[in-house]
């Protein structure tokens, strides 16, 4: 069977599975729709959280980023896993004890204010739409590469599938499809990784293979990789390019941002008990860690494979570089997508891939007769092209396509659900029309989900120029607005309505403004995005940390200057701190 038919078959089967599960787990009440009736087993919730959390970015982009950034890519590995420690220790059990449906609802109750609830809804919608646009884009890319349909058609199919199970099943439908999607995506990620680890190091466990010797010579993989990349003028793989303070700030912003993402937090509302919420965070991280500890191995091995393919002979010798006409099949297919581009600058018919930004390396490159780097490689192709580079069978490639789609769809569904519940439950039922019945609220939730899917599809199909630039927003804003407000709501009884609102707005506006100044959203950036211009040397990716600190500071000062929260709010705080009934 040829690759295309096989891919259609595997992806088609996975869709049948998702829709079948959705039909079996339809939502019948608002409780089912928002929090899956609160009786998801912690293990199943852990899997669903892992699929919810690991997006197209984790599945497709992360290993590619690590392949090119080396040690610098550690910010994503630590940042996107360390947040679960914060969730398990600081947020999840208490929010579970609180026991209602949404994050803005908690903020509204704890700060006894619809204004606070509205601010939280705005933060949530902004964060989630930024994020979901990226997922829909990921679906489009996978479809166009592997199924050879136009990006738009791919998007329509993806939207249709999400529509069926998010609108019908709500949280209940999403939860069980996410469990299935996790199984698909983790299988699709680890199978090629195991094959490649065996090929390169002889060790079938990628995490161990990363620290093993090469199958071909008694040298450690990472040492060899450092050698071959520095020979081409690149930075050593195990060394970073970011300043220590920026590494620190980005990692912290990603960790705190992860813990503050509403679609992740809300998953912990679905388990039956407080102890389940703690355990479930552990399971979630376990399932995530399987991918996240494999990714650095995939990244390093992909870089090694890529350079060995392009530079089969010694660096600098006339015949050391790959002849363009002899390029492998995967090279040709990715050239067609434009994600891999070759330009023969010195007209020798061979591919020179090296770091032409490195001034210290320039004299050597000139001596070799090289006239600049001739190959542009997009980070995103590394995971998708890996099975082809390693010459794995077609079924593995089809599986990777299904895995990429599973990762994107599962995250998109989770995001769409928190968007729709914040509209139907927080804005409509909570603030604008408190009188509506449960049945009307459920209908409103379904309509909101449907509308959100259409907007997300539009954003994915025709991303306004700024979507690509605002990914830093999602984490930065979650870190600077929602996380501190929830944390202080649990750990302090003194923070009041005025403090929380002022804090959220201060954190939000500061972070928003800083990112806009350097990234430019509706206009050109006001200042060039260079370390010399950054506040304290912190890049826009890491600035959420400063926004968070500002939020804590403003909230504390404003609260001190105004009256204590009312008695019943202090009692609410007491009650969420203890899993059982009240103690003395």
């Amino acid at each position: 069977m040829d690759l295309r038919t096989l891919t259609y078959l595997v992806v088609g089967l996975s869709f049948v599975l998702y829709i079948g599960i959705a039909l079996l787990s339809r939502a019948r009440s608002t409780g089912d729709f928002y929090v899956a009736g609160k009786h998801v087993h912690p293990l199943a919730n852990g899997m669903a959280t892992a699929a919810d959390w690991m997006s197209a970015a984790s599945f497709i982009s992360m290993a590619g980023l690590i392949a090119f950034l080396g040690y610098g890519g550690s910010v994503y590995l630590m940042g996107w896993t360390g947040g679960y420690v914060l969730l398990a220790l600081l947020l999840a059990p208490y929010l579970r004890k609180y026991g209602k449906f949404t994050v803005p609802e908690f903020i509204g109750d704890r700060y006894y204010s619809n204004a606070a609830r509205t601010v939280a809804v705005i933060c949530l919608i902004f964060i989630s739409f930024t994020y979901v646009a990226g997922q829909m884009r990921g679906v489009g890319i996978v479809f166009s590469r592997f199924l050879e349909v136009p990006v738009g058609a791919g998007l329509m199919i993806g939207m249709g599938v999400v529509f069926v199970y998010a609108v019908l099943g709500g949280m209940k439908g999403i939860t069980y499809t996410q469990v299935a999607q996790y199984c698909v995506l983790i299988f699709a990620y680890t199978v090629p990784a195991v094959f490649i680890a065996i090929q390169i190091t002889g060790n079938p466990v990628p995490q161990l293979g990363l620290g093993s010797q090469l199958a071909t010579e008694p040298t450690y993989l990472l040492d060899k990789l450092d050698d071959i990349v520095t020979d081409l003028g690149f930075r050593a793989f195990t060394e970073g390019d970011k300043s220590t303070i920026d590494m620190f700030a980005i990692t912290l912003a990603l960790m705190v941002g992860t813990a503050g993402l509403p679609h992740v937090i809300v998953r912990f509302f679905t388990v039956p008990r407080v102890s389940d919420a703690r355990k479930s965070a552990g399971y979630a991280l376990l399932f995530i860690a399987i991918l996240y500890t494999t990714a650095p191995a995939v990244g390093a091995m992909a870089r090694y494979n890529l350079i060995n393919t392009l530079q089969p002979g010694p660096v600098g010798s006339e015949t050391g570089n790959l002849v363009y006409e002899e390029r492998p099949h995967w090279f040709r297919t990715w050239e067609e997508t434009g994600l891999l581009q070759f330009e023969d600058r010195n007209d020798d018919g061979r591919i020179q891939y090296y770091n032409d930004d490195n001034l210290a390396f320039a004299p050597m490159a000139a001596a070799y007769g090289w006239k600049g780097n001739e190959l542009q490689v997009d980070n995103d192709i590394m995971v998708l092209a890996n099975p082809e580079i390693a010459r794995l069978p077609n079924w593995v490639i089809a599986l990777v396509a299904a895995g990429g789609i599973a990762a994107a769809l599962s995250t998109a569904a989770g995001l769409l659900l928190v968007i729709s519940s914040s509209i139907s439950h927080d804005l409509l039922k909570g603030i604008i029309m408190p009188g509506i019945t449960e049945k009307q609220e459920l209908a409103a939730g379904r309509i909101a989900a449907a509308v959100a899917i259409v907007i997300a599809g539009y954003l994915g199909f025709d991303p306004p120029g700024f979507v690509a630039q605002v990914v830093a927003f999602a984490f930065g804003l979650a870190a600077a607005s929602l996380f501190p407000a929830i944390l202080m709501g649990i750990f302090s009884k003194r923070i009041n309505k005025q403090g929380a609102i002022a804090g959220m707005l201060a954190g939000l506006l500061f972070t928003f403004a800083y990112i806009i100044v350097f990234k430019g959203v509706f206009f050109e950036p006001l200042r060039e995005n260079l370390p010399a211009n950054w506040l304290l040397g912190i890049s826009p990716e890491g600035i959420g940390v400063v926004g968070m600190a500002l939020n804590f500071f403003v909230a504390t000062v404003v609260s001190r200057l105004s009256s204590e929260p009312p008695e019943e709010v202090q009692e609410l705080v007491e009650s969420i701190r203890f899993p059982g009934e009240r103690l003395a």
Partner: protein, 110 residues
Amino acid sequence: MNNKPDQNRTAQSYWRTNLRLVAICLVIWFVVSYGFGILLVDPLNRIQFFGFKLGFWFAQQGSIYVFLILIFWYAWRMNRLDREYGAVDRDFAVADAEKVLAEEDAEGPE
């Protein structure tokens, strides 16, 4: 609850014990990631750990394993604490249903 709470077993002492456990975990969380993986990465990289430089290993592998151990350890300790304090960690789906019934009962006679 029917059993009388021990004098030392108050909501305050439960909370203090919890905060202590959280603090211990967060110190370790900080040390393995920000400490070993970022601030001390250069000195640690002079130590070879199998085929890894040690600082690099913490940044890309070790810290994640430690995060996992931390969460499960905390969950285990908190479960023990809950039992010591007789926290009846109820199934909330059941509790919610009971609450609704109770509210209906309360509204009934009016």
